[in-house]
């Protein structure tokens, strides 16, 4: 496991307490944080939603499978799935190697106001510190 000060926490995304990020400005991509990919361990499978699927705040829209466990992907916003990262089906390890770049999971059609309740990098880091 990485130490807190080893985690990469970019400031151009917003974070949810469930360890997902969403781009701070359109296009709105979604992925999991460096903390989440490190905690899950090497991913072996990503189950993605269909393009056009409705996303509801707090509801499951996919799953991440690692050698340790299967974890639900919980939507941090309301919106619609605009695109999915097709390359994850052959290369789920992109989520581990580049969680904020090539490892994005879906792109979302949504109102920018959906971002309001999400955390900035400093607040998310504080949350991780409190957990530790």
């Amino acid at each position: 496991m990485k130490e807190l000060n080893e985690l990469i926490l970019p400031t151009n995304v917003k974070y949810h307490a469930d360890h997902e990020w969403v781009s701070a400005a359109a296009p709105f991509k979604l992925g999991i944080s460096d903390y989440a990919q490190d905690a899950l361990g090497a991913l072996t499978y990503v189950e993605l939603p269909e393009v056009g699927a409705k996303l509801t705040l707090g509801e499951e829209f996919g799953t991440l499978e690692s050698t340790k466990s299967v974890s639900p992907l919980i939507s941090p916003v309301n919106g619609t799935v605009k695109a999915i990262n097709e390359s994850l089906s052959d290369n789920p390890d992109l989520v581990n190697s580049d969680p904020y770049g090539e490892g994005w999971i879906i792109e979302i059609e949504m109102e920018a106001s959906e971002l309001a309740p999400l955390l900035d990098a400093a607040a998310y880091k504080a949350l991780l510190e409190n957990q530790a």
Partner: protein
């Protein structure tokens, strides 16, 4: 202790072995049959042609093949197997001897009841014994495994609500549950409401009470739970669920902790499966098949799968007139010879079944107390038959739970369950079972202490372990991402 306690792990000569396909040589055979007196006839054209490319092998090649493969393996006959949640107790050989009796081996499942009175009496008596052991009214032996037993129980609960014309679409499942619980609820058409744990690691009445609405069909609960803790508020919780029209499914995965001690009927359980491959010492995993009989309360008796064995006077017959039954769950009558083994275990143990649970709990507490100075114990209290450590004290040395587990292989032990239950970060779940002697428990404790020492002084050994096995650290990520599931038969 430790200095004189020797861990069993050692190295030795390990023989390579090819796949059988690679060892075949044309014309080789395990037997020579006498010339057939029956004249040859040609096959119909649609099935004629080249057969599958089976390897031609001698008997000796096949015997050596499987013997060599078995030396790469680790089983309960090799050494201690403290795989939490799985109850890997020793499987007494008398179980096999009795299951191998020619009458049992030769009985065909389609024989008429008059020809298999012995088998039917065994089914009848085993159902009664299991109901007695858990304190419920009746049992079905049909389900072929624990998860199948869960399906059976939840189908009966769904049938009960349908029959009573109540529309209930949800099921409460604690967050420590085995993954099969929510999966079963979903298979039966229910959606899951996850119940969070209390701070002491078990369910709290107030939490469950808030979630129990008239849309909820019932609760699925494992007791003791997967943290190895007894659900102390369960009696009150179950009463409340019954008062509000729900039923309670008990996952019997951890029955080995309470066999003969907890009366599940009085606790308010309506259906429970019994993993005979755990609690009743029948083979487990690859040595199966398992079996998952389900015992039920009076409310669910009419819904039991059919047909059912009934006794009339001194004879037994199949009852098929069961109007509310959920129907058949298994071809024929369940895993019959596995059930014979369970029957043999119950008869050979007798009243000592209770003692088995007592010693399983004692052994778990002994190991926990001897190791809790070196390993983080998130719920520091008396445990039942198993307990959960984490790697929090090894984490600063960059030693993961996986590294600890892998190193135990080198020292001669099957690793405990790891990364489960999910509510505990990087869990190591240890269940020694009652069948390990004090010497073997001490050797396991010595091995765990050695690993904790190595984590501080030589963590690299742990990152590379196992080092003494036929294959060293496997790339389980590559195996999951790019599995090769076929052999080369060319």
């Amino acid at each position: 202790m430790s200095a004189e306690v020797k861990v069993p792990g050692q190295t030795g000569l390990i023989l390579n072995e090819d796949l059988l396909w690679e060892r075949g040589r044309q014309g080789r055979s395990a037997m020579s049959l006498p010339e057939s007196g029956v004249p040859k006839a040609s096959l119909p054209a649609e099935v004629a042609g080249d057969g599958p490319d089976w390897p031609d092998l001698s008997e000796q090649q096949v015997a050596r093949h499987y013997t060599r493969l078995s030396t790469w393996n680790f089983g309960v006959d090799t050494g201690p197997y403290p795989l939490g949640s799985c109850t890997m107790k020793y499987n007494p050989k008398i179980n096999d001897a009795l299951a191998d009796l020619p009458g049992f081996v030769g009985a065909h499942p389609l024989l008429p009841a008059e020809a298999v009175q012995g088998e039917l009496s065994l089914i009848h008596d085993l159902e009664a014994y299991l109901a007695e052991i858990v304190g419920l009214k009746a049992t079905t032996l049909q389900p072929g495994a624990g998860a199948h037993g869960e399906l059976c129980g939840m189908l009966m609960i769904a049938a009960y609500h349908r029959h009573n014309k109540t529309r209930r679409t949800k099921v409460l499942v604690p967050e420590t549950a085995h993954g099969t619980n929510p999966a079963t609820a979903s298979m039966c058409g229910f959606s899951e409401i996850q119940v969070p744990l209390g701070s002491k690691g078990y369910l709290e009445y107030a939490t469950v009470e808030k979630l129990m609405t008239d849309e909820v069909a019932g609760l699925m609960v494992t007791n003791p739970n997967t943290l190895g803790l007894f659900e102390t508020e369960l009696h009150k919780i179950n009463q409340m669920i019954h008062d509000r029209g729900g039923l309670v499914y008990g996952d019997g995965a951890n029955l080995n902790a309470v066999m003969g001690w907890a009366d599940l009927g009085r606790l308010g359980i309506d259906a429970v499966h019994i993993n005979v491959h755990k609690t009743l010492s029948t083979p487990h995993g690859g040595g199966g098949p398992g079996a998952g009989p389900v015992a039920v309360s009076q409310a669910l008796v009419p819904y039991l799968p059919g047909p059912r064995v009934v006794k009339e006077g001194d004879s037994y017959r199949w009852e098929v007139d069961l109007p509310l039954s959920i129907g058949r769950l298994h071809g024929f009558h369940g895993q019959f010879r596995t059930l014979v083994r369970a029957f043999a275990y119950i008869l050979t143990m007798g009243a000592d079944l209770k003692r088995a649970s007592e010693l399983a709990v004692l052994n778990a507490n002994y190991v926990k107390e001897k190791l809790k100075d070196l390993y983080d114990l998130p719920f520091n209290q008396s445990c039942m038959h198993e307990f959960v450590f984490t790697n929090a004290k090894q984490e600063p040395h960059k030693v993961s739970t996986l590294d600890i587990a892998k190193r135990l292989i080198d020292l001669g032990f099957h690793p405990p369950t790891i990364y489960f239950p999910l509510v505990v970060h990087s869990a190591i779940m240890i269940e020694p079972t009652e069948t390990e002697s004090k010497e073997d428990l001490d050797a396991f404790i010595a091995a765990m202490r050695q690993v904790a020492e190595e984590a501080k002084n030589d963590p690299d050994i742990l990152h590379r372990a196992p080092l003494n096995t036929f294959r060293q650290r496997l790339d389980d990520v590559a195996a999951a991402r790019r599995p090769i599931l076929t052999g080369d038969m060319g």
